[in-house]
Amino acid sequence: MRRSRFAVFSMAALTALALSTGVLAQDTVTITLMGHGSSTAEDDALNASVLAFEEANPGIDVDVQLVPDFDTVLQTAFASGDYPEVFYTGQSLFRQYVDAGVIANGSGYIESPEGFYPALAAVYSIDGELYCPPKDFSNLALEYNTDYFDAAGLEYPNADWTWDDLRAAAEALAASGTLPEGTVPFGLNPDIDRWFAFYVQAGGTFYDEEGNFVFGEDANHDAAVSALDFTAMLTQDGLAASSSDLSAGWPGEAFGQGKAAMTMEGNWIISYLNDTFPDVNWGTTELPAGPGGEGTLTFSEAYCVGADNEHPEESWALVNFLTNEAGAERVAAEGFGPMPSREASGASWIEAVGPVGEAFVAGGAYAVAPVTPAGFGEFRDALGNGVGAAFRGEEDSVDVIDEAVEVSQELKAE
């Protein structure tokens, strides 16, 4: 008897629960926002923004999922067909995801797309249509240790510098005898996401007008070779060294530890140095210009809306809330590592992070995204290994570039 009464009671409770969730489900729409965790402050700010959005839109519930190993998790979610409504997309994966047909076209949905940096909007556009509004971005700039320059009696690097000035300053630092033992003038990794900056400064381009990948081909060949010659010579002459040679995890750490007088990193280095090495005195300026003029690299992410999506209106409402002018101002005011993706908010960001931010914002005007086509992992490996070998003096620059171009053509033909 007791058992059956219990059963009736629990059945009733379950029915009530089912009914109530059914009623609730009619009223609110739940959309999932998936991304990777950043700093705690950044994650908190995102959650606060989402909370503000939910308050302004009582009918929409946002489930924020910040997962480790995000790209792999997202990719498996795509493959299963059951994937989040809104997700981060890095610049190198955007084309691949569009090709796979999992990203919705945002043209017509995105609020005031003209306010984004043109270079950023171009990364996430296909045939002039903006698919995903850029979330935020980082540029490379030159960081220098002011104490080392003072000790050697040298002028600080400035925005008018060229490759020759960089090399001359590195030589002067090395010759001055004022650097501590084991410190090199320049911290530089044989990493193509740094080295491409020299390629761009030498006048190299990644895509032609038809959108074909043209690294190192035709006119770009000389640019690639001269960029590799310049950087390899810096390393072989002992003026530059990689972070592993300096026993640091990355060049920013080597710079913070005082093992490199200069390095080139993105704006993520600002909060890193402030938090981890508060005693280091340092400044920033734009990267030196090469024979092809000014050039820096940009790294960005965007909010994309899934193509198989039952709630596109609500998804776009969320994405616009996070990336419109007000959203960009919120990113700027917090002064995180990455910069807001709208030009208008650059000044607020500099205000938040201080004058070291100027060089990064200035680079936004001419920055290039080092994006290789989908499935070009083999090319990146081949070029990365080749750049490493050239830095160590094991291979000639021309051979490295020729080999990389060969791989690129082989992949294009696939």
Binding site: Q75, S244, E378
Partner: protein
């Protein structure tokens, strides 16, 4: 009542029926007992293997939702198309970058296995023999100490090794202390092959120009490409960085192997040793002629699981080097991951995984044959 009406002749079919029922009941019980294991095996092993085999025949990118199905004229937005054995051809036979990657990974993996398996087996045997000695004090401590690396997360150990082997880490500091003229080695970012270094040491040092030439007539063979890799590069040996990972893996797996050997050692009856001692065998002879032969089946087991583990090495590479420098720590298992997730070629990745499976299978069979023959000789 029923019994009385049943004739004696009808009784035997009834008894047969109950017997059958019992038989069937037993079968059902048996099936019921193996069902959980069978379902798990089927769901998590057999189906995935079958699906991987199927994917290896497609050009699926691993991103497009699989439910979109086959690409056809009516369904141009499908997820995949069958390409037959194209993926196998690309990695195994067709000259080019992908073939080079595969054979580089295979070369690295084989050098890795050749280095790791014998060393860890030998060390494990010696350690087990030592901690099994009656005269040893603090046996429990030593057994725990040697087993400890095996029960620690490989990711944590990899990170500790990264600190120890960094350019100014513990290892370099210690060597510098012992030998002040030592030029610090960058262990974790050093693509030079250890065999190359040995050959350079004895004067075999082909110049860059010699590596470009392949002319069998004049015996200039260093530049000859076999499977898109130059002969000289085939003979590189594991790179210094790979050797570091090998040391790490030997250190972590010795404990497990030692415990297996220890269990086997303790099952060798002491009478055998006593008899041999009476016959005048020395300690070394006891080890060589009693212990090692009686451990033959255990050795087979240890070498087999060691070999399989070595051919599948992944996590240390993932944590420490991502396949670099210059692809010298790229292993086949890591290549599978790389093609699937950073190269978006799930079909190619599946084909590579299947080839890896076949390689492991063949190696294990060869090793089994060799072990059996050597034990046969002794018998």
């Amino acid at each position: 009542m029923a019994q009385s009406t049943t004739s004696p002749t009808a009784a035997s079919p009834t008894r047969n029926a109950t017997f059958k029922d019992k038989n069937r009941q037993e079968a059902m019980t048996g099936l019921g007992f193996i069902a959980p294991a069978f379902i798990i095996l089927f769901g998590f092993l057999i189906i995935p293997m079958f699906v991987a085999g199927l994917f290896s025949l497609t050009n699926w990118d691993g991103i497009t939702p699989i439910a979109r199905g086959l690409i056809t004229e009516e369904n141009p937005n499908g997820a995949f198309d069958f390409v037959g054995l194209q993926n196998y051809n690309t990695i195994l036979l067709q000259e080019g970058r992908r073939q080079e990657s595969f054979y580089t990974a295979l070369k690295n993996t084989i050098y890795y296995a050749l280095g790791v398996v014998p060393v860890q087996t030998a060390f494990a045997l010696v350690l087990a023999f030592v901690v099994n000695q009656k005269w040893l004090k603090g046996k429990g401590f030593f057994r725990t100490a040697f087993y400890f690396p095996s029960i620690t997360s490989s990711v944590v150990i990899s990170l500790i090794f990264m600190w120890m082997f960094s350019a100014s880490g513990l290892v370099n500091t210690a060597i510098s202390f012992l030998n002040p003229s030592y030029d610090p080695v960058t262990w974790l970012d050093n693509p030079s092959g250890t065999l190359h270094l040995l050959m350079n040491g004895i004067g075999i040092n082909p110049t860059r120009d010699m590596l470009r030439v392949c002319d069998p007539a004049t015996l200039q063979l260093w530049g000859c490409e076999v499977a898109s890799i130059r002969l000289w590069d085939w003979l590189s040996g594991p790179s210094v960085t790979m050797a570091t990972i090998m040391i790490l893996n030997i250190w972590t797996t010795i404990g497990t192997m030692m415990v297996i050997y220890l269990a086997a050692l303790q099952s060798i009856p002491s009478q055998v040793y006593e008899a041999a001692t009476v016959d005048g065998a020395s300690r070394v002879q006891l080890f060589r002629y009693i212990t090692v032969p009686l451990l033959q089946p255990t050795t087979f087991f240890v070498v087999t699981i060691g070999l399989i583990g070595a051919l599948q090495v992944f996590d240390q590479v993932y944590v420490m080097t991502s396949g670099g420098p210059a692809n010298t720590t790229l292993t086949v298992a890591y290549l599978v991951y790389r093609s699937a997730f950073s190269d978006s070629r799930m079909g190619l990745a599946a084909a590579t995984a299947i080839v890896l499976f076949v390689i492991i299978f063949v190696f294990t069979m060869i090793q089994r044959r060799v072990t059996r023959e050597s034990s046969g000789d002794r018998a």
